[in-house]
Symmetry: C2
Subunit: 493 residues, 2 copies
């Protein structure tokens, strides 16, 4: 097993440099003063270059060839497959294209930060065209190597195993029922009275609330922490997971649910198998499975009336509330399940969210496959927003096609993960219910049976199995959107 | 200038990895949860190994040889000298000795953390003997290379240019007047009434106080921040300086002065010349000069009645104080200049501090030169403490010879920096007074003339000149302990 052991050692070495990159990235977002940015960015770029060199070390070719004929256990074989996948994903793109993409993406992203506020589509298009062109080049190279379509090749960077064919079928089905369901829910909620919350929620108390929620949700504070950043995220490393949120003193609703969402990501990372630490097989399976954990925590647990019932006394302890009944579990559940079509994806509720994703999926798929061009995006956006959500975005690029950061960085193929995650979460919940009384566990304030199921079926399996195998082992079938539809119907209708 | 340029690029590259190491070290001390330590330590060790490889890159030999004959400016020549010094300091120690030292030091330091509390000299000696032996081996190699004594060779790692001969002379003089002066001051202070402070100083308010002091002292918050750690330090990088302190809710005195001290280190780092960023010539001159800046801020500014007069109204604003007059400038100055011989170096006042250092200097010098052995340390310690400070430490190893971390890590040659720093600070103050009305600047609450002098004479000169040249350019002479003596006399007698 000399070759396999060499590969393993090499990946562990790479993971150590990535550990430092993760911590320094977190620091950049959560701690670093503005004046530190230039030198930090240079240091991070130097490290990225070093990691790239390690990933392309000459000896790897021989080690992979040698390892194929070594006597490996099933897990080691799976580990080898994952190492090779990561290695090939990285090495097939020529260094010049990597550099050109990095420059074009940085330029587009940097300019976008002001262009968005100024609703400047024309300015954005100037940079975005180059981003699309270079990503198309990347997609073409990956597609030739994989023998797939251009978009499929990009998709596999985030969701290995998922194809355009499967997404087309999945989303076509969703489009047949979602717009009507959203209208029906909106109609129903019109008559539901919601007691308004006050407007004074001190940050210190909100932080305490978040920490209590994390504690309830099994976050291991010996291996992680909660901080503040402009854009909430989950970073760090499995032994030291860093989650962030942002606070608004006039309301607690967003920060609390944001912390619950990130805690789902964090518990997945903290629950990964330690004996595979540093190896690709020991990492999270995909962006969609990662999102399935954050959305399990947020949608399947966090927004349930049972869980909000647990939070209710904490809210009363921490905040002065003059509107009687505002912090009651029933009212909290209403507040956390309002459905309303809107412009902005990140503000969308769980029922309208898939519409935002399907729209982006259809556009980025056609962009990568060369069916449409960058300049066509706004018209398609406006047309689809009207069709799927009845929302008018014409001329409103700011709250329309330039609202997200993903495309500015060339991350075409990422968006489907959000809705795949929501669907997997609903499917996991349905499977979990066969052996776990979820509501009873939440009502008792001891959610460990829920975490045990997730640890055994998802977290500890990391990337040892393909997504389809992982999901089949956990639920008895591959992705089935019926569970998500049933979840929405049960909760909202 | 091809070879010089190659060297420069290479050192900038190394500095980028060191940047990440600095931030991750700071994180380890100030942010990281305990469970993150094992993986973090592995990642840091991997990075250290990489930096070591870069520092010993084969091409460097040719680049140094080639650069010698290139047409360089005076500053570039100085930069080349510093690069070569750092390179040689690193490369002359064989890899096996570096590794053996690293293991022995880690073992000794780790065990010391419990042995100290248990007053366990015998247990400590078991590990310490090996630390001394390996450091002696290192000292011997360095001495042969430098043509110096063993201790001189170790000293040059922290204070290049300083020799045993100069320290012997310097400290011999101090020993003629310091013990008597300490007794005289103690006697005088017996009759000085001190109004006691209360015992409720909330951490939030103490943090505000520290930030106000930093602001007054010119700390650039665009390029740094203040946090908490068990052992206060100044870390990070010049564009992003991280200082830490620790708070005790029952008193504000230590944390406030600790912040002022670290702010001195921080302003030196923030004031280093940007055009030499990443190069050895652009870094702080020595540990002694670094300490001269922290002690300038603490002793020459922070503990002056004028500066404490500026802090006085802030203290009254932030804390409820029942003892009338406690926060008056006069009383604050008394509290901050109490002199009392004691066991612990880090708790010592500025008058007794040099005695702690001279004692350590004499012992570590003789250890490195093979004049004494590890087992001889306690007896020498007890004898010298009695002689220099009239303090009995017999059998009290905990508050005696195993109180400090330095020797556990093999840092022989470091201690003199503390007293050199105090002396340089007094000498800089005397020179500054020729052109700056220091007290008037402090009284006016605008200390910028002080910082301007330090920036021009110390910070911006980094390591372009030798310590002797730097000090001569700033003050007209090399180190002269008379200024330190005069400072103590003026303040205390």
């Amino acid at each position: 097993m000399k070759n396999y052991e060499n590969l393993k050692k090499h990946f562990v070495k790479i993971s150590r440099f990535n550990h430092l990159a993760s911590i320094c990235s977190w620091d950049q977002a959560a701690m670093m003063p503005a004046g530190g940015n230039a030198a930090r960015s240079e240091a991070m770029a130097e490290l990225a270059l070093h990691v790239h060199d390690l990933q392309n070390k000459t000896e790897l070719v021989d080690w992979y060839a040698g390892a194929e004929s070594e006597d490996l256990s099933a897990e080691q074989k799976a580990s080898l497959v994952e190492m090779k996948r990561v290695w090939e994903d990285d090495k097939i793109i020529p260094a010049e294209l990597v550099e050109a993409k990095s420059l074009a993406n940085s330029k587009c992203e940097h300019a976008w930060r002001t262009q968005r506020g100024e609703n400047d589509w024309a300015g954005f298009l100037g940079n975005f065209t180059e981003v699309v062109n270079l990503s198309q080049q990347e997609a073409k190279i990956r597609a030739e190597h994989a023998g797939s379509s251009a978009y499929d090749a990009m998709l596999s960077l985030y969701e290995p195993g998922t194809t355009t064919a499967s997404l087309d079928a999945l989303f076509a089905d969703v489009k047949t029922w979602l717009p009507d369901m959203v209208m029906e829910i909106s109609e129903k909620q019109k008559s539901e009275a919601l007691i308004k919350f006050g407007s004074d929620f001190p940050i210190d108390a909100q932080k305490k609330l978040g920490l209590k929620a994390m504690d309830l949700l099994g976050f291991d504070f010996e291996h992680g922490r909660l901080d503040v950043s402009v854009h909430p995220f989950c970073g760090g490393v499995p032994t030291d997971v860093r989650i962030t949120t942002r606070y608004d003193e006039s309301e607690f609703v967003s920060a609390m649910m944001g912390v619950i969402h990130e805690t789902g990501h964090a518990c997945y990372e903290q629950g990964l198998p330690q004996h595979l630490a540093g190896l690709p097989a020991g990492m999270a399976r995909s962006m969609g499975i990662h999102e399935s954990q954050s959305l399990f925590f947020e949608m399947q647990v966090g927004r349930s009336q049972e869980f909000l019932g647990l939070m209710s006394p904490m809210l009363s302890d921490l905040f002065a509330e003059t509107n009687a009944g505002a912090f009651g579990a029933d009212n909290l559940a209403k507040a956390y399940t309002r459905v309303k079509p809107g412009h902005i994806r990140v503000d969308a509720d769980e029922a309208t969210y898939p519409a935002h994703i399907i729209l982006r999926y259809e556009i980025e798929r056609d962009l990568m496959n060369g069916v449409i061009e960058a300049k066509d995006v706004p018209e398609l956006w406006a047309q689809k927003m009207q069709e799927y959500l009845g929302v008018d975005t014409k001329g409103n690029y700011k709250d329309g096609c330039i609202q997200d950061i993903h495309w500015t960085m060339g991350a075409f193929g990422y968006f489907p993960s959000y809705t795949l995650g929501a669907m997997y979460a609903a499917q996991f919940k349905a499977a979990m219910l066969k052996s776990v009384d979820v509501n009873a566990a939440i009502n008792a304030g001891d959610l460990s049976p829920i975490f045990d199921w997730l640890r055994t079926n998802i977290w500890q399996k990391a990337s040892i199995f393909s997504t389809d195998d992982l999901v089949t082992q956990a639920t008895g079938e591959t992705l089935n959107a019926a569970y998500f539809k049933a979840h929405l119907q049960a909760r909202y209708l």
